[in-house]
């Protein structure tokens, strides 16, 4: 269990992180979102023990990171935005070095090399590796000592779509053994990888919960539905225009004897819309709630909180 309580960080007199508190359960993958300059990296660096907060507390499995940093920070795996690799070293040699630096034997190196898909380059010089392999190597060094918490700062940055998919699978696999905190600008990846989301804005935590909870918070799932309505198009149009429960609607497609429309609802459930349609004599062939992408939710949240 990771617990951050009232984390605050000042650079000179400028407050970059303000009173951030959250908990992360064991083997949970948590996504960390925020615009550039929101303070994500600062929080991640504080959690990894590399940066000391101005105030607040960080507990890892009940141990206070700040009162005994030397004894705890080596048990945290950290991948900074730029992987901390020595260009002149061989991959295998580097991972041995990273493991031993944290006081571990090199017995996990083979396992980690396999997990991160580095087998084919294990005898290669790091300076010759592609960006994708460097990111993997960065993750490998972060987990080679079997840490309780793995902190990944923008691990997907600069990867191509194939590499992104591989990285997503890799991060998901990490959950079997570690608690993972990952930040990314690619929100679909966070959406597909993480159990929970933390959103930081201007140094403050503005959301802590699942993507569904974020949808509920933004009142999005109840707001929009896509329906196929059968009947006279002009009658449907008039009915929707005059309805008190429809905030807005938009014709998406003309079908044979029916139309597909996207309907925005005013504080009512989709079931209530179904009753309304039937009572109004409109045939309801299908109804699908619009699942709003995390990206849209995030942008709305940023707009709401701003």
């Amino acid at each position: 269990m990771i617990r951050a309580e009232g984390l605050t960080k000042f650079y000179d007199s400028r407050c970059v992180v303000e009173n951030v508190s959250f908990e992360i359960a064991d083997q949970e993958i948590v996504g960390f979102l925020g615009l550039n300059g929101a303070g994500k990296t600062t929080v991640l660096r504080m959690l990894s023990g590399i940066l000391s907060p101005s105030s607040g507390a960080i507990e890892i499995d009940g141990h206070d990171l700040l009162s005994d940093p030397a004894n705890l920070r080596w048990r945290i795996g950290f991948l900074p935005e730029r992987p901390p690799v020595y260009e002149d070293m061989i991959v295998q040699q580097y991972l041995d070095f990273a493991a031993q630096l944290r006081g571990q034997s090199t017995h996990r190196v083979s396992e980690v090399t396999e997990l991160t898909g580095l087998q084919s380059v294990r005898q290669q010089r790091i300076g010759t590796l592609s960006h994708g392999y460097r990111q993997r190597l960065g993750i490998a060094q972060a987990i080679v000592h079997d840490p309780a918490l793995v902190v990944l700062d923008e691990p997907i940055n600069g990867l191509d779509p194939v590499q992104i998919k591989e990285m997503r699978d890799l991060i998901t696999r990490l959950k079997q053994r570690h608690t993972v905190l990952v930040s990314s600008h690619i929100l679909t990846e966070i959406s597909q990888t993480c159990d929970r989301i933390l959103v930081l804005q201007e140094g403050k935590l503005v959301f802590n919960g699942s993507e569904n909870e974020l949808s509920t918070k933004m009142d999005v799932s109840a707001q929009e539905i896509v329906v196929i309505l059968s009947g006279e198009a002009s009658q449907i149009s008039t009915t929707l225009d005059e309805s008190a429960i429809v905030a807005h609607w938009k014709l998406e497609k003309n079908l044979e004897g029916a139309i597909q429309v996207r309907v925005g609802l005013k504080d009512v459930s989709s079931e209530e819309f179904a009753s309304f349609a039937v009572n109004a004599g409109i045939g309801l062939r299908s109804m699908t709630p619009v699942k709003t992408h995390l990206e849209s939710l995030f942008i709305r949240l940023m707009g709401t909180e701003a």
């Binding site: 940066l51 499995d61 630096l101």
Partner: protein, 253 residues
């Protein structure tokens, strides 16, 4: 799961790894070897032209002059080698790996210091053929040679500590070079300054001169504990400052 039984691993192995890493970064490319080769060449030229010279000399004087001239070479090598310690890690983005290790800032600083000192020790070892020649052809004691090299190593340790400190507090090569260069320039000109200052303060300033009085006895083969203590004190002070510099980075960036 973190438990109390998982105590911090022994630092010595991790420190050894950093020292080894430092050495492989020096000697993994031509840079380190070129520096050593050039330094040896300069030490050899200075020995032939200044220490031996063209006039007849006592071998003890030749040896003293050798240690005096070689201290200048050691100054340059120690300066160059120590500057890269933390600055290079920062440039490569590898500092988080060290800061996220089982080592404290103090242990990281000491590891870097030992890595740089090993390079100096290697230079001293390779330059040993010169005093060996004096020993075989002339009349000097092994004690004189040993004391001279002890002086070189102690002098180098103070330079390296200053370089490690500058490297720990600076954001790049240029700043580190300027900070270390200014500190060393000041430390080497205190004796000049002391001449202009009367009284006790003048004595204090003269005492702080890095090379002048303190190295004199070593090059003449006289082992004086007060000079040993001086160099060790300077080394310790700057290593503590370097540790503080590295620690302060946890608060500032």
């Amino acid at each position: 799961m973190i438990t109390d039984s998982n105590q911090r691993p022994s630092a010595s192995k991790a420190m050894f790894l950093i020292v080894r890493r430092e050495l492989s970064s020096y000697f993994g490319s031509w840079g380190g070897w070129t520096l050593i080769a050039l330094s040896l060449m300069i030490a050899g030229i200075l020995f032939n032209t200044r220490a031996v010279g063209s006039s007849a000399k006592f071998s003890a004087d030749v040896l003293a002059q050798f240690f005096h001239d070689t201290s200048g070479v050691v100054l340059a090598v120690a300066f160059l080698v120590s500057l890269r310690t933390t600055v290079e890690e920062r440039k490569q983005g590898t500092l988080p790996l060290l800061l996220n290790s089982s080592l404290t800032e103090g242990e990281i600083v000491v590891s870097k210091f030992l890595g740089a000192m090993t390079v100096i020790a290697l230079f001293c070892l390779l330059s040993g053929y010169i005093p060996a020649l004096v020993f075989l052809r002339g009349k000097v004691s092994l004690g004189h040679i040993g004391t001279g090299y002890l002086g070189l190593l102690l002098y180098a340790s103070s330079i390296v500590a200053i370089g490690v400190w500058a490297s720990a507090i600076a954001s790049g090569w240029v700043v580190a070079g300027a900070v270390a260069g200014a500190t060393l320039a000041l430390g080497h000109t205190f004796w000049l300054l002391a001449r202009r200052i009367d009284g006790e303060l003048g004595n204090v300033v003269a005492y702080l001169a890095l090379h002048d009085k303190h190295f004199m006895s070593f090059k003449q083969g006289i082992l004086s504990l007060k000079h040993v203590a001086f160099y060790l004190s300077i080394t310790l002070v700057f290593l503590i400052l370097a540790r503080s510099g590295l620690e302060s980075r946890r608060w500032s960036s």
